[in-house]
């Protein structure tokens, strides 16, 4: 097991993503950050705090996608995680979804469905810390912390200090 990204790398990646979000949207006046629990929510909060340091406050929320998953019948029932919409809602906003790892794209498909239930954003963009490839759906990220070529039997583990005591991204071998 080896760390691909360490704490400082993660910080740098999130800072760059924050600047790219401002650049892409010509400011952040209509940007809303929605993190996908658990780790996407913490990453979204970190991006929000970086943007705040840059003088741009953005509404922050979380979006649980459990009820929209297409693999529900393949596993025991999952506990629901928190969905919190920011006060201004998402209607007509530029929503940036934030997740830790982009893999098959199925989570993001479910997130797009969940988002559709909540309103009609002007645009939906996707920010991920790691893109590890092996897409099963036509989905791509707008902002990527690190492109990580992997083989499909490896797994990518993102640890964040908010839940795991340490910041790092690791690749572990065949399960």
């Amino acid at each position: 097991m080896s760390a691909i990204l360490e704490s400082a790398d993660i910080d740098r990646a999130l800072k760059r993503i924050s600047h790219e979000i401002i650049e892409r949207n010509h400011g952040v006046s209509s940007v809303v950050l929605l993190g996908i629990p658990t780790r996407g929510a913490y990453l979204a909060a970190r991006i929000a705090s970086i943007l705040k340091d840059l003088g741009s406050e953005v509404p922050l929320g979380t979006l649980d996608i459990t009820m929209h998953r297409d693999d529900l019948r393949l596993r025991p029932p999952r506990p629901l995680l928190s969905t919190v919409l920011p006060a201004g809602g998402i209607e007509g906003k530029d929503v940036v979804l934030v997740d830790d790892v982009l893999f098959s794209g199925r989570t993001i498909r479910a997130a797009l469905d969940a988002l559709g239930e909540l309103g009609r954003p002007k645009t939906v963009q996707l920010a991920v810390l790691v893109d590890r490839g092996h897409r099963e759906l036509p989905i791509r990220a707008d902002f990527v912390g690190k492109n990580l070529p992997t083989s499909s039997h490896e797994s990518v583990k993102v640890s964040l200090s908010e839940v795991d005591d340490i910041d790092c991204v690791e690749i572990t071998g065949a399960r």
């Binding site: 649980d64 009820m67 929209h68 529900l72 019948r73 393949l74 596993r75 025991p76 029932p77 999952r78 506990p79 629901l80 995680l81 928190s82 969905t83 919409l85 469905d113 559709g116 239930e117 909540l118 309103g119």
Partner: protein, 316 residues
């Protein structure tokens, strides 16, 4: 959670808290502009009602539809049951139609258990009231209502003082509530005339009292039960007027209740008998909230029973 929900005894404390937490999340999600979720698309839920019901049947139907399940409503009146068809034959018909869950209300205690254990059907069985035995989803929605009414407790029921007043003898709601509240650490007092307390009440994890006025000021929750006139084949109290005077929630008693306390009733109410109209419509009353909370709670139960891979397929 097991394959079935027959009794509160089937649930551990953690599972109960999981149902309440899931209900809270589902309530948040479905309070938006779109109330419908795709989660149970393609599943069939049968409401099998051998007894009359307004709230419970509509509540289960709404919950199942909000999760995109197909709903078949079956009531004994107007079905072949009135021609003498047995529970077994009815169940096998539902099995042949591919029901994934059967919500059953029946006048006989143990009917839900019988349906689940018989091997007649492979569907999940949810007890929506069996005779004078249990009504677990009502107890879950009552607990959900209590946890929402006391947000400062953060879902902690320890030491919450709950009075359940009235026809305990015939009440499946009381039985399920007592079991559930004991698991969560609430202090329950049952208040009824001696004739309306069941035999063996001393083995229940509750206090009992014959006097409603004794410690009325101490309760956080006062849950009034319906006098079940349809099950009363005997003389349990001298007159309705006397019962109402001694055990009914009237304006005087309402005024004596503690600050911040709430009035609950599982419905349907006999206004003027166990609860006065003014009490039922007062600001302490959460009776209408109970109905709304019932939908979220039953969505949580349906999701936790049907949302994942069927247990039968896990074992194979």
């Amino acid at each position: 959670m097991n394959n079935h929900l027959l009794s509160i005894n089937d649930l551990s404390r953690e599972e109960i808290l999981n149902v309440l937490g899931t209900a809270a999340e589902l309530e948040k999600i479905t309070s938006g502009p779109t109330k419908k979720l795709p989660t149970l698309r393609g599943r069939t839920v049968v409401n099998l009602f051998f007894e009359d019901s307004t709230r419970t049947r509509i509540s289960f139907e709404t919950a199942a539809k909000r999760l995109s399940a197909d709903v078949i409503n079956f009531s004994a009146k107007g079905s072949s049951v009135s021609k003498g068809e047995s529970l077994k034959d009815t169940a096998q018909t539902l099995q042949a139609m591919g029901a994934d869950a059967v919500v059953i209300r029946h006048g006989s205690s143990g009917a839900a258990q019988r349906l689940a254990d018989s091997g007649w059907i492979s569907a999940s069985v949810i007890n929506a009231g069996d005779g004078t035995h249990e009504h677990p989803t009502q107890a879950l929605l009552d607990a959900f209502t209590m946890s929402k009414s006391f947000p400062e407790r953060n879902g902690d029921f320890t030491g919450l003082k709950v009075a359940i007043v009235g026809d305990i003898l015939h009440s499946r709601v009381a039985r399920s509530n007592v079991l559930l509240l004991a698991k969560l650490g609430a202090e329950v007092t049952l208040i009824a005339p001696p004739t309306l307390l069941p035999v063996g009440i001393d083995t229940w994890p509750v206090r009992t009292s014959y006097d409603f006025d004794e410690s009325l000021e101490s309760f956080d929750v006062v849950m009034m039960l319906r006098i079940q006139l349809e099950r009363m084949n005997n003389f349990y109290f001298p007159s309705e007027r006397e019962y109402s005077r001694r055990y009914g929630l009237n304006e005087n008693r309402l005024l004596r209740m503690k600050n911040g306390s709430i009035v609950m009733h599982p419905g349907p109410m006999n206004r003027g008998l166990e609860i006065s109209a003014a009490s039922a419509d007062s600001s302490r009353s959460v009776i209408v909230d109970q109905v709304g909370n019932g939908v979220s709670t039953r969505m949580a139960v349906l999701y936790l029973l049907l949302g994942g891979v069927p247990l039968s397929e896990v074992s194979s």
